[in-house]
Symmetry: C2
Subunit: 220 residues, 2 copies
């Protein structure tokens, strides 16, 4: 039987990969990762663990992938995994948080390939550690989102806003008005990591690998 592992490579620091992920990668027959203009960040993170392995980059253009694209790419993986061997699909962070692996897993299982997931440290967990921001104290609620909507924050104590956004100025204003203090964490755990709290500095930054953690201000 053929098998595909979905592996979370963690947020960026190559030492924030788990021992299990390294072992599974070392014994893999072939490695798959999304093609981001000929490269891939998850692949960069684990490159020393997969030296000399065959790598196939899959074309999954962000934000505009159709079901047919998932089927096509699942088929490419299915065809390239040999009988009784296994391949690995790499995901930055964790495979079940805003990842294409979720869709590919569904399609490749339909093709009779077994799947298994090795969890990874999500970016928001790493960003909280870098910035020493509590995510949940006892009794608190944490919300993970990829789009900001003030209606979601009613009963929330902390939120993590992943991915990019268009109008940062409006966003920061709304976060402030809802009674939250924010931190902007750019490239968490990488050498270029920056933690910004100043509005002007955040607005100037154009990096798309960044996220915002908001903590509700103490209530009077």
């Amino acid at each position: 039987m053929k098998k595909l592992y979905g592996i979370g490579t963690g947020p960026g620091d190559k030492e924030l990969v788990t021992i299990k992920a390294v072992k599974v990668m070392e014994d893999a027959d072939i490695i798959f990762a999304p093609n981001n203009k000929g490269t891939n960040m998850a692949l960069d993170i684990v490159k020393e663990y997969i030296a000399n392995k065959k790598v196939i980059l899959l074309n999954l253009p962000m934000g505009q992938v159709t079901k047919e694209d998932y089927i096509k790419n699942a088929k490419i993986m299915e065809e390239n995994i040999l009988e009784d061997k296994y391949g690995v699909f790499l995901t930055l962070g964790d495979p079940l948080i805003y990842s294409t692996f979720i869709y590919l897993m569904e399609e490749i299982e339909e093709m009779g390939v077994q799947t298994e997931i090795v969890p990874g440290i999500p970016s928001f967990i790493a960003a909280a550690a870098s910035s020493k921001t509590p995510l949940t104290l006892k009794g608190e609620k944490l919300l993970i989102i990829d789009e900001f909507n003030e209606n979601s924050l009613k009963n929330i104590d902390t939120f993590c806003l992943l991915k990019t956004w268009k109008d940062k100025e409006k966003l920061l204003k709304e976060i402030d008005e809802e009674g939250f203090t924010y931190k902007y964490i750019k490239r968490a755990t990488l050498e270029e990591e920056k933690i910004l709290i100043d509005e002007e500095e955040i607005l100037k930054d154009k990096d798309y690998i960044s996220l915002i953690i908001g903590r509700r201000n103490p209530r009077d």
Copy 2:
């Protein structure tokens, strides 16, 4: 200067510890962990990485710890970390998700001890991987809670309910009525791991190291 690392040991499988956590533990001078009747699950997970190291179990009775307890235990750590050496405080999962480390960090920093956090794989991320439950598809919202309250679920697609609860029968009924399908994951990633979806089986289970993931049913 003295330093304390807060380390997340991950959910239970000793291979779901990160390479960084292992390195930091191996070079540590002393290890601290909460005392759970003479033992500690985080300590069990990493025992082979810290063989022969001095270990101090701290008395932090769950659910009834006062600020004075945190100060007292931070003081014990501060006194036991030698000048220019570092100690490690172990947390199951991640140090910033429902953990006593958050409170201890605050107190020990007041005493002039430097702190740093090594993130770990939270239990809910591991439970999702074991049960192959998507946590967030594009545009979806994920809520992390340690107490169930149906008012929190209004705009939510998935929730993870950590920690224990009293009336499981009432809880499962409410989750169902709110339009969610649940999975009960017991001791995720450990040998005794079980994934239950049958109400009767869940009600029979008395394990306190379990959590519930709820996914909203497709809307008509």
